[in-house]
């Protein structure tokens, strides 16, 4: 199952961030060392050496190797994040419009949930299951971002896009529109509520009765 958050954290906290911190510290130390040690002083003659071809070539190869590792790890993690399951458990259609969201659950026999300026819509999903989202826009480009899951996808008009999300734990999180879409782009918040499967089924049943 696609666990977007753990793939992100594995790659970011496990590889990219530590590498960035190490590089930052090394470069800052080198620069500060240079300023202190090689400040112009009486009698201090600057070096006449104007390159270090062997050292620099080896260094460039080292950089290429680092790039290679980053790319390899990115590709393997991305394959898992982008993968869509053959048979998702739940399908939800998310439709973005200026400036709110509409959620419908095809086949579940319940009315669509539509957000308004005054009422933030709530996307209810089961935990531990593959949720297939089909995302589209009714007007301009929007984007569905669920920061808790470390994932977003753009919503294009006329081009539905599909992706799978898995919610490990029950909880309530915020979703945002992440593509500037005009006047009230800042208001396009949504809520996500992940509940255990039994509670999810109960929720569906109660919506059918309404």
């Amino acid at each position: 199952m696609t666990d977007t958050r753990s793939e992100f954290e594995d790659l970011f906290l496990g590889l990219y961030l530590p590498l960035m911190v190490v590089v930052s510290v090394v470069v800052w130390l080198l620069v500060l060392f240079a300023i202190v040690r090689y400040r112009a002083r009486r009698g201090h003659v600057p070096s006449a050496k104007s390159d270090a071809k062997v050292a620099e070539s080896l260094y460039a190869l080292g950089l290429a190797a680092i790039a290679g590792v980053l790319v390899w790890q990115t590709f393997t993690h991305e394959n898992r994040v982008d993968r869509v399951a053959a048979t998702p458990t739940t399908r939800i259609l998310v439709s973005a419009f200026k400036w709110q969201w509409r959620f419908s659950y095809p086949g579940a026999g319940i009315p669509a949930i539509v957000g308004t300026h005054a009422h933030t819509p709530e996307l209810v999903v089961p935990t531990g299951k593959t949720v297939r989202i089909t995302l589209t826009s009714r007007d301009v480009i929007h984007a569905l971002w669920i920061p808790e899951l470390r994932f977003k996808r753009d919503a294009f008009p006329g081009r539905p896009t599909h992706f799978d999300l898995v919610f490990d734990e029950p909880g309530r999180f915020t979703g945002r529109c992440a593509e500037f879409c005009g006047l009230d782009h800042a208001e396009m918040t949504l809520r996500v509520r992940a509940v255990p499967e039994s509670e999810y089924r109960a929720w569906l049943a109660s919506r059918r009765r309404q």
């Binding site: 090689y38 620099e56 991305e78 808790e148 996808r153």
Partner: protein, 542 residues
């Protein structure tokens, strides 16, 4: 070694009688005047666009302030971003090269001076046109500098503000293409005898690759905006239909990625010159730098769809590979810059302070760029304040600090006066501190879920504290800008005359008066390397 005689240099004679007065001054075709006017226009608009940024920060300091309505805020950030790219940094990068390249290669004038001058006037008239849009009834463009369709089509963005913005932007960029052409032709055809390509100064190399990028990528923007206008006029709905929005993005970003390198390379070239001169030695690793500039700029042409990872409609892997590969030439450039300092005899005058600031701050921009080059990571931070932090570290920490290293360094040559050193150091300190205060919190804000282009947020979001810090930083930046303005005003009024070579420079522009005469050089020293004046000085010392 015989100097090249005055006769040989001034074989190109001035044939015009100068037109008297203000008309002659403004309509000058002298590449130096054109460069100065281009740069001065861009600097004024930098202060304006920067102030818009400060206004944005005032709105976001606290949730729910509504100093500006959503509509007004959307126009603010559009004008801020569009202003910075189209009207400030591209003209500054090219204007600097229009002035310096003919001097650095030992030429008497730029290639086709009237074309370069036309570029300046298209910048001016185009800028007026884009700003005119903000005085129309529906207001100016409010779609972000990227102007995506369908947001910019006539249903979603009615009114002439967007049209004026689009036309003005097209006009400005035609002007920039013309200037880039003149610079490139100067580099390829007008070099002084003895100046082979591998004796071009570091700044000239950076200008060369910038112009190659301008000439091969800016046309895509012209096509995108022209087709947008056709769409808005109803003449050709090329962006209608399911494939329209993504097609626009390909066209836009094919320009939109190289432009960020166009507004970067000339300033890193300047930092290279400053690092060498103020370390009192030859630039270290010259041939590696040349190779890395060529590779860096070629790669930059093939990475554009990394701005589109979250669309799900592009081949993420190819663009992730090319984008991550950028770390190779970038790392080589850092090796060379730091290698120039290590073993040097460093003099910490203001240009060098800004060069060092560049090294320390651009680093975070570059590293965060490698982060967003990974689609898995980009899926989270794209279109958030993390990305805003990333590109401000590259654009402010990189381009702006590099620009001011260039300005403080070449100011004596441009104006014949010296800028004040004490105010320069104060300016540097305020901006170094202010930059980090403003933009570092944004890495965290984006990571925590704050989208960009947000006209407001709410107190329950939990973003207030960091936003307040960022706004305080922006005010520090504003004060620093005022210090620079004060420095300029007081220097121009005190007029401490600048010698031809106040810094013991290495390159040919320092072998003539400050400012240079109309024909640039009375005589030229022999050119045996990329640092001819340093060679001469070392020879004299022996």
């Amino acid at each position: 070694m015989a100097r090249i005689t005055a006769q040989a240099v001034t074989a190109t004679a001035v044939v015009d009688t100068p037109r008297p007065g203000l008309v002659g001054w403004f309509a000058s075709a002298d590449h130096k005047r054109v460069g100065v006017l281009t740069g001065a226009t861009a600097l004024v608009l930098f202060l304006l666009s920067g102030t818009l940024g400060v206004l944005m920060r005032l709105e976001l300091a606290l949730p729910g302030l509504q100093l500006f309505s959503h509509d007004a805020y959307n126009q603010l950030f559009t004008a801020h971003g569009a202003g910075m790219f189209y009207l400030v940094f591209t003209p500054l990068a090219l204007g600097l090269a229009v002035y310096l390249v003919p001097l650095q290669v030992g030429a008497a004038e730029i290639f086709a001076p009237r074309l370069a001058q036309l570029g300046l006037w298209l910048l001016l008239s185009g800028a007026v046109t884009t700003y005119a849009g903000y005085f129309t009834q529906e207001g100016g463009a409010k779609t972000g500098w990227t102007a995506f369709v369908p947001l910019t089509d006539v249903q979603n963005s009615p009114g002439t503000g967007t049209d004026l913005w689009a036309v003005g932007t097209i006009v400005v960029n035609v002007g920039m293409i013309l200037q880039a052409f003149c610079i490139l032709a100067t580099l390829l055809r007008l070099r002084a005898p003895g100046m082979t390509m591998l004796r071009l100064p570091v700044f000239s190399w950076s200008a060369l690759v910038s112009c190659l990028m301008v000439l091969t990528s800016f046309p895509a923007l012209l096509v995108a905006l022209t087709l947008l206008e056709f769409d808005r006029r109803g003449w050709w709905g090329v962006f209608e239909g399911g494939g329209g929005p993504i097609a626009y993005q390909h066209l836009f970003w094919f320009y939109g990625h190289p432009v960020v390198y166009v507004v970067f390379f000339p300033f890193v070239g300047a930092v290279g010159e400053v690092a060498a001169v103020f370390s009192q030695r030859r630039f270290f690793g010259y041939s590696a730098l040349v190779l890395s500039l060529l590779l860096f700029s070629a790669l930059s042409m093939s990475v554009w769809a990394h701005h589109m990872f979250t669309t799900g409609q592009v081949q993420n892997e190819y663009f992730s590979l090319t984008s991550t590969a950028l770390l190779i030439p970038a790392g080589v450039e850092y090796f060379d810059l730091i290698g120039t300092m290590i073993g040097g005899a460093i003099v910490l005058r203001t240009p060098m302070l800004f060069a060092i600031g560049f090294l320390l701050l651009f680093l975070f921009g570059g590293l965060s760029g490698i982060i967003v080059a990974s689609p898995v990571l980009d899926y989270h931070v794209h279109d958030s304040f993390f990305v805003v932090a990333h590109f401000h570290y590259t654009l402010f920490g990189g381009s702006v600090f590099g620009l001011f290293a260039a300005l403080y360094y070449w100011w004596p040559k441009f104006t014949g006066t010296m800028l004040r050193e004490g105010l320069g150091r104060l300016h540097f300190a305020l901006w170094f501190a202010g930059m980090n205060m403003t933009f570092f919190p944004m890495f965290v804000l984006g990571y925590e879920g704050m989208p960009r282009r947000l006209a407001d947020y709410s107190s329950s979001d939990g973003w207030t504290g960091l936003n307040l810090v960022a706004t305080a930083g922006a005010l520090v930046l504003f004060v620093g800008a005022l210090v620079f303005v004060w420095n300029v005003v007081s220097s121009l009024s005190r007029r401490v005359p600048a010698p031809a070579d106040p810094w013991l420079g290495h390159t040919l522009e320092w072998a003539t008066s400050s400012p240079p005469p109309r024909h640039n050089f009375d005589e030229l020293p022999p050119v045996l390397s990329f640092a001819p004046l340093l060679d001469l000085r070392e020879q004299g010392a022996r």
